[in-house]
């Protein structure tokens, strides 16, 4: 069951590589939140109830519902349809994505052979999410896509923490979630301001400051 969920999580990243409608990205993000929630509850026997409750709140309410709904509203309000032409074309992007997946699986095989106590597929796929989101950030131009890819990066880090299965203290968990929450909120505030001031919202227009 968990393996299927992780493969679905990986497939959702491939989907982001393949499509260019921004709304599809947000829906993928919500879906990732649901997959992460299901992963958390399938691991139920390994963590204490307080932590489990917190993780369920974080994945289902925040990652799967609240943030996607918030971002969807921003996108509809600003009437953003599609991603503008990326720096590297879609065909080559998908080739690179395949390479990233290959790297992820190699990492998973490697993790399985070490005695570090990591869950191999979790580990490999979390690296895929992290590397793929960094590639998407570099390759895509729209600022809203950057915000969405930051969320994919955060999901990758969340999966990595599940692969290690070491519990952080509750104080740290709350702090991390608060940072994420305020971070996304501020990203959107700045995004809205850039829309207002610059008459556009991709990074190529931010060229006022240079040496």
């Amino acid at each position: 069951m968990t393996n299927i969920l992780i493969i679905l999580l990986g497939t959702s990243v491939l989907y982001v590589f393949a499509v260019s409608r921004i709304e599809s990205y947000v829906k993928t993000l919500a879906l990732q939140g649901v997959f992460l929630f299901l992963l958390v509850i399938t691991d139920i026997h390994k963590i204490n109830w307080l932590n489990l409750g917190f993780l369920m709140f974080e994945t289902l309410l925040i990652k799967a519902v609240f943030i996607p709904v918030f971002l969807l509203r921003v996108i509809r309000k600003n009437e953003i349809g599609r991603e503008v032409e990326p720096y590297i074309s879609q065909f080559y992007s998908i080739l690179i994505a395949s390479g990233i997946f290959m790297f992820g699986f190699v990492a998973a095989f490697w993790a399985a052979r070490t005695n570090a106590g990591i869950k191999p597929l979790y580990f490999g796929m979390s690296l895929v999410l992290i590397v793929a989101s960094l590639f998407l950030i570099v390759n895509r131009k729209r600022i809203i896509t950057h915000i969405l890819c930051y969320m994919i990066l955060e999901n990758g880090i969340f999966l990595l923490s599940l692969s290690v299965a070491n519990e952080m203290p509750m104080l740290v968990n709350i702090g991390v979630l608060l940072d994420l929450f305020v971070g996304i909120y501020l990203f959107v505030i700045f995004f809205n301001k850039i829309q207002e001031m610059y008459d556009g919202s991709h990074v190529d227009i931010l060229t006022e400051l240079r040496d």
Partner: protein, 476 residues
């Protein structure tokens, strides 16, 4: 005192936001630095007054290196708070705008205090990210197009960088499974139990993450933009305290390496990026056209010097602490003075500014003396810290590196001195009036900071020596 450090500024900020009255905003601006000064003294005199809940106590600590960085932060914070009085007056802000600025400053400083005092690696990470979030709004405080671009680059680049640092922290938990704790004391005491492979991999991520925040080359892209576009007192806080607090985070991680006897790996990275930062700042300094960006590149240079200090281990660590103190105070003085110049000339470009000594002699002299302090002219302490770093290069058998070290320092000093003298001397533009009426808030903070530097530079008293040395002992 820790509870006062965290709660007093936050409560005052909330009150200032809720009740925008002049007297309340002034109290909210000036009381927190006073509380911080008291806290630093109380800690120095070992007066313990913890009223944190028991379960929260283990998460915060006031060790010697923390006290040192906290003291430096407090000096900068106090100067910035006083200077802000002039900043308000010169910009004619409404009371509401002033209250927002004051509240944002308090949140920012509390987040930095959290980085300095956190006793848990992941909690420190939470506060580092909080410093990014709280300061991004301050950079955009004047709501200009250019400051919007700078804030976006800052918040996004730093957030992604710091997210990678969290990857490093998770990877460290794989290697430290037998310790099963991320409290710094556990990590130091049981460092030999950490798997060296995972420690090195995690360090690479933490180094990139916190290095982004410190603004070390080649991951410094946000720094010149944010430092130049923020209001001058905020630039002073960014350069004088934010970079230091992230640096302290890296020092704490370096301590794990030293405890595990693996510092050879991290020292190499520190040395490499340190020299790269010196080179990048030297290259840009020669073609610089904007005096606030010039100060930002000088920050990159000084962070590079600090990295070299870290890499030189026990020989460089005293110089490192002295340099942290001297750089923060000199750079704060420079950024605050740049605010006076900006007010007078309404331009950040070097080219239209001249004759500062004629148009506002106090600003002119502060500009020159602060520049002499930052490039390391005796008797200012940066002279001594750079000298000690060169000596440490010799002691470590890396004397050949002194050649590029001197070369880059001379280029940076030449670039800065060239611009500063051009701005200070000559004829003042005809349309500028003599404005020696700015009031004490526009000059006094810089004068006090330069006076402290002068005193430290001409004679490091036994108290100051032992204070610096106890911080330095952290890395020995």
């Amino acid at each position: 005192m820790i509870s006062l450090i965290f709660f007093a500024p936050v409560i005052l900020a909330v009150i200032a936001l809720a009740l925008p009255k002049r007297i309340i905003s002034r109290i909210a601006l000036l009381a927190p630095p006073l509380i911080y000064i008291m806290a630093a003294f109380a800690e120095y005199l070992k007066i313990e007054w913890y009223i944190l809940p028991d379960w929260l106590m283990p998460y915060f600590q006031f060790d010697s290196v923390g006290l040192f960085f906290f003291t430096v932060m407090t000096l900068v914070f106090a100067s910035v708070s006083v200077y802000s009085l002039f900043y308000f007056k010169s910009h004619s802000f409404t009371l509401k705008q002033e209250s927002i600025y004051i509240a944002e400053i308090q949140f920012f400083v509390v987040a930095m205090a959290g980085v300095i005092l956190a006793a848990h690696l992941a909690l420190m990470w939470v506060f580092v990210e909080a410093t990014t979030l709280t300061s991004a709004l301050l950079i955009y405080f004047e709501k200009k197009k250019s400051s919007l671009e700078a804030s976006w680059k800052y918040i996004y680049i730093c957030s992604v960088g710091i997210a990678l640092a969290f990857v490093g922290i998770i990877l460290l938990t794989i290697g430290s499974r037998s310790i099963d704790s991320l409290f710094f004391t556990d990590l130091y005491n049981k460092a030999s139990q950490i798997n060296p492979f995972w420690l090195k991999v995690s360090f690479a991520f933490i180094f990139v993450g916190l290095g982004t925040k410190i603004g070390i080359a080649p991951i410094h892209a946000w720094l010149p933009d944010a430092h130049s576009e923020a209001p001058s007192p905020v630039s002073a806080l960014l350069s004088g305290t934010l970079l230091n607090s992230a640096l302290l985070g890296l020092l704490r991680v370096q301590k794990i390496f030293i405890s595990a006897h693996l510092e050879g790996f991290s020292d190499f990275l520190f040395l490499l990026t340190g020299f790269l930062s010196l080179m990048i700042s030297a290259v840009y300094m020669l073609r610089i056209k904007n005096y606030k960006r010039m100060l930002a590149y000088s920050s990159i240079e000084n962070m590079g010097i600090l990295f070299i200090g870290i890499a030189l281990g026990k020989y460089g660590v005293f110089a490192l602490m002295l340099h942290v103190l001297a750089h923060s105070l000199s750079k704060t003085s420079l950024f605050l003075t740049s605010g006076n110049i900006l007010y007078l000339h309404k331009s950040k470009k070097i080219e239209p500014v001249s004759g500062l000594l004629m148009s506002d002699s106090r600003t002119g002299w502060l500009w020159i003396v602060s520049m002499l302090a930052i490039i390391g002219m005796p008797p200012f302490p940066i002279f001594l810290s750079k000298f000690l770093i060169v000596k440490a290069l010799w002691m470590e058998g890396l004397s050949w590196l002194a050649v590029p070290f001197f070369l880059f320092l001379v280029i940076v000093a030449f670039g800065m001195a060239n611009a500063v003298f051009k701005m200070a001397f000559g004829e003042a533009p005809a349309d500028k009036n003599l404005i020696n009426k700015n009031g004490f808030a526009a000059y006094a903070p810089q004068m006090v900071l330069l006076f402290i530097l002068f005193i430290v530079g001409i004679n490091i008293s036994p108290q100051i020596y032992s204070f610096l040395n106890s911080a330095a002992n952290f890395l020995r």
